[in-house]
Point group: C2
Chain length 370, copies 2
């Protein structure tokens, strides 16, 4: 089946193994898994389950870390709407790295990008989403001081002079081939990748020495960081390393979740009733009738409810396997499985929403200021 993955559109049924080859990424293999366990004393389920599926130069940043030269973490968010559970995947994983390696973390919120690429979105709206999205990050437990949130339109005084140093070395030909831009693309969008490059070397600029950088991110963002990796060494900085996650599934079809289609995703601000309704309507691998399901079993491989357990709501492999087997054997009915998931999501969100509100008054402590 045809698919397409760019930072600006993901469609079709993504063949990740093919995509890894196309993008020139390295798969997360046993070697790198074991090395991470050596450092963290823990096997993270997102690595074991190939939710994080690929990387660039992860070994190099670990080499440097071993030599006493710690990396900093960098990831981000394009604020085109409310935060959904899919957005949390790389942030939760980043939080794990942040805690285990005890390193600094830069979180970029690209309100300029979302304004430039979304016809109907004003910069003021994108900036408002930026502030709302930041609360979801803080709610995950990142600490001020070691966490810097950098909102492009607010940090442009620092970012633009650095971005043009990248931009001077990137031609239209390059962004045309990397992002598929056309002559009708606006000149802000054409320039934009330079802004996304900045957090990968801003800490080096501030510290006055080249620092290793590790970027956990959704695989669709890789084209930006390919450009960043090409340019930074020419400016005297290190190529950032990266680790890519696959897409959190939509509740309704095979595409990535989308903030523009509310029924495809659970948002962090959804009410218990909204969660209930969305999960009840989710696509499953169940049979047409209860009798048939008891007889033939369900198909977890195509079930969105099962994917939700897999990605976030059942972190024990033993329990996850039990659930899968029960389903296949016709012992676990979709209604019960959904009910349990609704409980788990609502329990997660109840806690998250409380911390999210507490984050409002804390936000200024996290915002980057020169």
């Amino acid at each position: 089946m045809a698919y397409s993955v760019t930072p600006y559109k993901v469609s079709g049924d993504v063949d990740y193994q093919k995509l890894i080859k196309e993008f020139g990424l390295k798969p997360i293999d046993k070697g790198i898994l074991n090395r991470l366990i050596k450092f963290t004393k823990e096997s993270h389920y997102m690595l074991r389950r190939e939710i994080f599926i690929a990387h660039r130069d992860l070994n190099k940043v670990l080499d440097e870390y071993e030599k006493g030269n710690p990396f900093f973490l960098y990831t981000g968010r394009g604020p085109s709407g409310a935060t959904h559970l899919g957005h949390l995947i790389p942030w939760i994983f980043t939080k794990w790295l942040y805690d285990k390696f005890k390193v600094d973390f830069w979180f970029q919120i690209t309100d300029d990008e979302k304004f430039l690429f979304n016809k109907g979105l004003s910069l003021e709206q994108a900036n408002q989403f930026a502030h709302e999205n930041a609360l979801d990050l803080i709610a995950l437990g990142f600490r001020p001081g070691s966490t810097k949130i950098i909102i492009d339109s607010e940090a442009a005084g620092t970012m633009y002079p650095l971005a043009i140093k990248v931009a001077k070395r990137v031609t239209f030909s390059i962004v045309k081939s990397v992002f598929g831009f056309q002559n009708e693309t606006n000149i802000g969008s054409i320039f934009y990748t330079s802004m996304q490059a900045v957090p990968a070397f801003l800490p080096s600029v501030l510290k006055g020495r080249p620092m290793p950088c590790l970027i956990p991110h959704g695989i669709d963002q890789d084209p930006h960081f390919r450009v960043t990796r090409d340019i930074l060494p020419k400016l005297g900085y290190l190529k950032p390393a990266s680790i890519q996650n696959s897409f959190f599934p939509s509740l309704t079809d095979s595409n990535k979740m989308s903030a523009s289609l509310p029924e495809t995703a659970i948002f962090t601000t959804d009410s218990p009733e909204q969660v209930k309704k969305k999960i009840q309507n989710a696509l499953t691998g169940g049979q047409d009738t209860l009798a048939k399901q008891k007889q033939m079993g369900g198909n977890p491989a195509v079930c969105k409810v099962f994917k939700y357990y897999y990605f976030l709501f059942e972190q024990s492999d033993v329990q996850l396997n039990k659930r899968m087997e029960s389903c296949k054997q016709g012992k676990l009915m979709c209604g019960d499985c959904k009910k349990e998931l609704i409980n788990r999501i609502n329990s997660f969100l109840s806690n998250h929403q409380k911390k999210r509100e507490e984050a409002r008054k804390l936000l200024p402590k996290y915002l980057f200021k020169r």
Copy 2:
């Protein structure tokens, strides 16, 4: 003879009448001249002599001024080197408008542009030139408070969020056709015209209402302001009006003066000895021998020394005509004419350089801060 005028290259013998038509400008005619005299009670030699040769919508800003809605002035400088006398032409004329109309003045220094378009120039060098060039502006007598100097790399915190609002409405096709950009043009240069648009509406943003803007500038900058004029009404601001000057002549050939060829121009920081040497080597319309000159007279039409009197150093039309006639009649020898010019330039520069040094401590009062 072939010529080419873009913001990035001026070459050949410019046919201004043809250029005015090509660019779609209006010539400075008797009507607009008389109207300006009505307001200013003065006929400025740069208008009479067609040093300022064309405009866009000058009548409209005067209409608004009459209704009690004053315009602000905006011009700028691309800091790729030291300031030469040619740069002062639009600034001196702007100073006259500033004094006569008692309006605010915004002066943009585009260190980002010069960095992006000049391969060998670092942003730090361009920024250093920006600070030096600003001294030349202040030396002309502009007052703090009503004069804001805005250096792009330093004011990007305010400018970038406004520039992207312009950029979202400008495609690569447009800048390709307006500036002649290619696929190999860097993405910072492609974006840049958005930054040059900002001072044309920044005062409106700050005041919270659309304000008329008048831009005196070298005619080569018109392509930028064509783009600006197209976009600003779409953002709810007024089309800026403009008035264009022709190029101050090179001392050595028919092209525009150039900061990259020191022998073609007098710089504001030149010593009396440097001025003497440059003027003595200037191209004149004199004959091969003194005897021949006495007999046949000189040709002021091709004489660079005469052009210097015409553009800046003889503001009395009566005296300028006398000088021209004396030359044509073989009464005025090139040596004497050059000697007088050297005196006038050095007298001007001696005063300018004093004020320029005094400006160093005043600069912070002029720099734009949000």
